[in-house]
């Protein structure tokens, strides 16, 4: 094979912030003092926090060095399953930092904030069109926050009809956030097993759905990267017993312009703007998790809502059945700008093409690796494919070892040990923004790692060797937590 991408550049050590600096330095241009000091009750004041004093250069070097220890999408292929680590367009950063947006106070009167309100209104319309749902709230701050919103909506819906349902069906292929979000609303999650083919049989739902069950939380395409083909039958069963269907839209990147979520029986679903709609993940947020609903749930959406009256946009809190607020203001507006910019840049054709190519890339990887790695569900996948380490068991090589070795080759590892239904899972989601050459290089790297597992398994167990640090002692970290310095 060609020389691997992974190599060792010059990486600089950098101490902790408070191990640097000197009392009296400052990296901040102190504004001119144009008022006199005012007296202050000394009983109330303190000495100020014990922060290190650093110069601007100290701060810039510190964070520049730290950044060089990180791997991002701009560094290379980041095939983290279920996370949709696609390229984050740079122009979107410019739009979000326009002074009119970035400097806007959230309590500005509507006639002084028409630009922001119009953008939010437009984005809601776009997301409703993309999902085929009737109404949208942009307030949830992330996917899990969207799930919580969805559960609160379902809770409020049943309550408004005088029924108190305690259970919710959650398939074994669900994200861990699903049962946690349901539990926050007092629902007791009831697990249901996916079938041999990796999807949920409608009969399994018929068997457990009853009038004490509020509904079902279902991810489609599911976390095995498979389309839930029985979704309409499942939705009918749930609806026939008065339940509602919650769709986890984390995997929407597979089906934009192809599947109409409104048609397949979803009553409520969330989207992750930081996945499908290209906003950068920021090393763990901020994200944005809009929730799209059918008419029946619209009265319960969080307030305030953006409405249009004539040519004017307004924020309205006048929705008496609303579940209330999920956070102080209207959601992560800065993230919405980027997602809206993305949708407007891609247009209808571009979004559909993105989904088509995301699915093509995943199937291409699946075909090329299925002889090297065990493929538990050998069927056409959507935007991601799931392998396992079963073929490497003889050498006692695990998914973790292969994932760590991938770093030495210059790739971010896939999602590992999820979904839980596949023992030793390795979940690969290339996304549409990876070129054929990069995907070929990735395939070649994994094949070469599989070969190494046979010849020199220790090479994998010692991996990675090229990053700044090697495998870390997580047991010690958890036994004696050192959470501050």
């Amino acid at each position: 094979m060609k020389e691997p991408q992974g190599t060792s550049g010059l990486i600089l050590n950098e101490p902790l912030l408070w191990e640097k600096g000197k009392k009296g330095r400052c990296g901040f241009s102190m504004p001119r003092r144009d008022v006199v000091p005012s007296p202050l009750d000394e009983g109330l004041t303190g000495d100020g926090p014990d922060f290190p004093d650093l110069s601007e250069v100290d701060v810039v070097r510190h964070y520049t060095r730290l950044s060089q220890w990180n791997f991002g999408v701009d560094t290379g292929m980041y095939p983290l399953g279920s996370c949709t680590m696609k390229y984050n367009p740079k122009i979107n950063e410019r739009e979000a930092s326009l002074p009119g947006f970035a400097g806007a106070h959230p309590l500005l009167p509507p006639d002084l904030s028409q630009g922001a309100l119009e953008l939010m209104y437009r984005l809601e319309q776009y997301l409703a069109e993309i999902t085929g749902m009737d109404a949208v709230t942009l307030q949830p701050a992330a996917g899990a926050h969207g799930e919580l919103t969805g559960m609160l909506l379902i809770h409020a819906y049943h309550k408004s009809r005088g029924s108190h349902r305690l259970k919710i069906i959650v398939p074994d292929t669900a994200h861990g956030t699903n049962p946690a979000s349901a539990a926050l609303c007092g629902f007791h999650p009831v697990a249901v097993k996916s079938g041999e083919d990796g999807i949920i049989p409608a009969e399994a739902i018929t068997a457990i759905m009853d009038e004490d069950t509020a509904g079902i939380m279902i991810t489609n395409p599911n976390t095995l990267g498979l389309f839930e083909e029985n979704i309409r039958e499942i939705a009918e069963v749930v609806h026939s017993k008065g339940g509602l269907v919650y769709g986890d839209g984390a995997n929407m990147n597979a089906v934009m312009g192809i599947v109409q979520m409104g048609k397949i029986g979803f009553d409520v679903m969330h989207l992750n703007l930081h996945k499908t709609f290209s906003t950068p993940h920021g090393g763990g947020g901020p994200g944005s998790g809009p929730v799209c609903v059918k008419d029946i749930l619209e009265p319960f959406l969080p307030v305030p809502r953006v409405i249009k009256k004539g040519d004017e946009y307004l924020l309205s809190g006048d929705f008496p059945e609303s579940i209330g607020k999920l956070q102080a203001f209207y959601g992560n507006f800065g993230v919405m700008i980027k997602a809206c910019s993305y949708i407007m840049s891609m247009g209808s054709e571009g979004l559909k093409r993105a989904s088509q190519l995301a699915v093509l890339n995943a199937n291409y990887i699946k075909e090329h690796l299925k002889d090297s790695l065990y493929l538990p569900y050998d069927r056409a996948c959507m935007h991601e494919c799931v392998f396992s380490d079963r073929l490497q068991e003889a050498e006692k090589i695990t998914t973790l070892d292969m994932a760590k070795r991938l770093m030495d080759y210059g790739f971010h590892p896939p999602t590992i040990y999820f979904p839980l239904v596949v023992h030793g899972a390795m979940m690969i989601e290339p996304t549409e923004t990876e070129s054929k050459e990069d995907i070929d290089r990735f395939i070649e790297a994994l094949k070469s790692i599989v070969a190494e597992a046979g010849k020199d398994p220790d090479l994998l167990r010692r991996a990675p060797t090229r990053p700044k640090v090697r495998r870390l002692d997580e047991t010690a970290a958890a036994r004696k937590p050192r959470l501050t310095g």
Binding site: G46, S67, I91, S113, L152, S181, H188, G284, L357
Partner: protein
């Protein structure tokens, strides 16, 4: 489309490799009745330059500083952000990474968040801080749920002087669990009346905000004492962390959980989000804490390094028994605030907080001298309430035409305070602008 690298040749050779004739074949397993019949009704894709024109025009349709003089705070504050912070935050190694699940190639994010956790504990005087929550309001809701878990009790007492939107958020979060929320009234001096707490039983938490919604500094120590006497945790919320550059921190005054909004520390206001939920508590409660935590450890060679730790509290492991469902938080905003705190330093943040205090006092004094009544006598930081009178609405509108926004009307949330306005001044407001406001409202 420039984000899609595939040439026609790539597509056909890849289709051949997967045994499909046409790209639509890849979707053949999707039942026909699930598919979209026509194309999505979205505008045609824009060029980069068209997008710029459109966004420029939308963003110009907004009233922002410095063209407008905005005396509004109420949970969102206009502070200067050093260019170095914005510049460093734009480094795509930080911004385009996922949550640091693979520590070997995420040490930058991990060390930075470990440093953030440390700076937050130092600012608030607490023992442990998490890697961030969504915003101040949801952080307060999570803090109350945490207190309910720790004490195994079902009632919380929250001050009426906590930001109204935070209280709304708390109600949303606590509604399905049937937890009881009691609101603590306010005193004449602009602080919370905690005298009723002693008579309440089964109390999980007593929550106040300081500086509170009226800008007043609350009496933390006695609130903590009353809370602890009734076996409840003392939860302190805040919207303006800059105050703790100057005032005594909540940790040294008995707070068990401190949570609030960190937007003031280097994060643009951005029409209310993304902000930064800061969350800190006592070490003895760490296993009941929501959110991610970064810890220090060593690698196989004994070199120091950082990992996500105590993950068994979280949703991906404990599922329905998790301490919270939070997953993605506001990591990049936490990073921004760490950069900001590092740029200011201990000396700088105290000086800047003093300047904020002095400027707000200048305006307060000026309005008082102009004959307006300042109803609350407690010391304030950055924000204060002034009674402009019932007929101020027209003046407010007139000022708006002159590009001055004279604060936030309190009547919406406190009907008994009609004619009262909450004004905010930070270091970004010049003396001349304050003089103009005083002159205009007087006339």
């Amino acid at each position: 489309m420039r984000y899609l690298p595939h040439t026609e040749e790539d597509v056909s050779s890849m289709l051949r490799a997967v045994g499909a004739k046409d790209i639509n074949d890849l979707f053949s397993m999707i039942p026909g009745n699930c598919k979209i019949e026509n194309n999505l009704k979205l505008p045609e894709g824009l060029t980069e330059w068209e997008l710029n024109t459109l966004m420029d025009s939308l963003s110009k349709n907004m009233a922002v500083s410095p063209a407008y003089k905005i005396f509004m705070g109420a949970g969102s504050y206009n502070h200067y952000i050093p260019e170095s912070v914005s510049y460093l935050l734009g480094r795509s190694e930080f911004s385009t990474a996922y949550t640091p699940y693979q520590p070997e190639i995420s040490q930058g994010t991990l060390q930075a968040i470990y440093e953030y956790q440390t700076l937050v504990t130092r600012l608030l005087g607490m023992e442990v801080a998490n890697a961030s929550m969504y915003d101040g309001a949801s952080a307060l809701a999570e803090a109350l749920l945490m207190a309910i878990r720790v004490t195994k009790r079902k009632k919380v007492a929250i001050s009426k002087l906590i930001h109204p939107y935070y209280r709304d958020t708390v109600r949303t979060y606590l509604e399905p669990g049937n937890y009881e929320i009691v609101e603590l009234p306010r005193l004449e001096d602009g602080k919370t009346d905690i005298s009723g707490v002693a008579g309440m039983d089964d109390l999980a938490a007593v929550a106040i905000q300081s500086p509170n919604f009226f800008g007043c500094i609350e009496d933390l120590r006695s609130t903590g004492e009353v809370a602890h006497k009734s076996g409840a945790l003392f939860v302190l919320s805040f919207t303006e962390p800059m105050a703790y550059g100057l005032f005594k921190n909540p940790g040294c005054q008995g707070a068990d959980i401190v949570c609030g909004e960190g937007q003031s520390l280097g994060i643009p206001q951005s029409f209310g989000g993304p902000g930064l939920g800061m969350f800190a508590c006592r070490m003895k409660h760490v296993r009941n804490m929501p959110g991610r935590l970064v810890g220090k450890t060593t690698d196989m060679d004994g070199k120091p390094g950082f990992v996500l730790t105590l993950a068994t509290r979280e949703q991906h492991i404990r599922r329905e028994k998790a301490k919270s469902n939070i997953c993605t938080n506001n990591s990049l905003c936490a990073l921004a605030s760490a950069m900001y705190m590092a740029s200011l330093g201990g000396t700088g943040i105290r000086e800047l907080a003093c300047l904020n205090y002095d400027k707000a006092e200048y305006l307060k004094r000026g309005l008082k001298e102009a004959g307006f009544y300042i109803p609350f006598s407690s010391p304030t930081f950055n924000e204060f309430v002034v009674n402009f009178g019932e007929n101020f609405k027209d003046t407010y509108k007139k000022l708006m035409e002159q590009r001055i926004i004279a604060g936030v009307s309190l009547a919406t949330w406190y009907p008994e305070l009609s004619g009262h306005y909450l004004l905010c001044v930070t270091e970004t407001m010049g003396r001349e602008d304050m003089d103009t406001l005083i002159k205009e409202v007087r006339s």
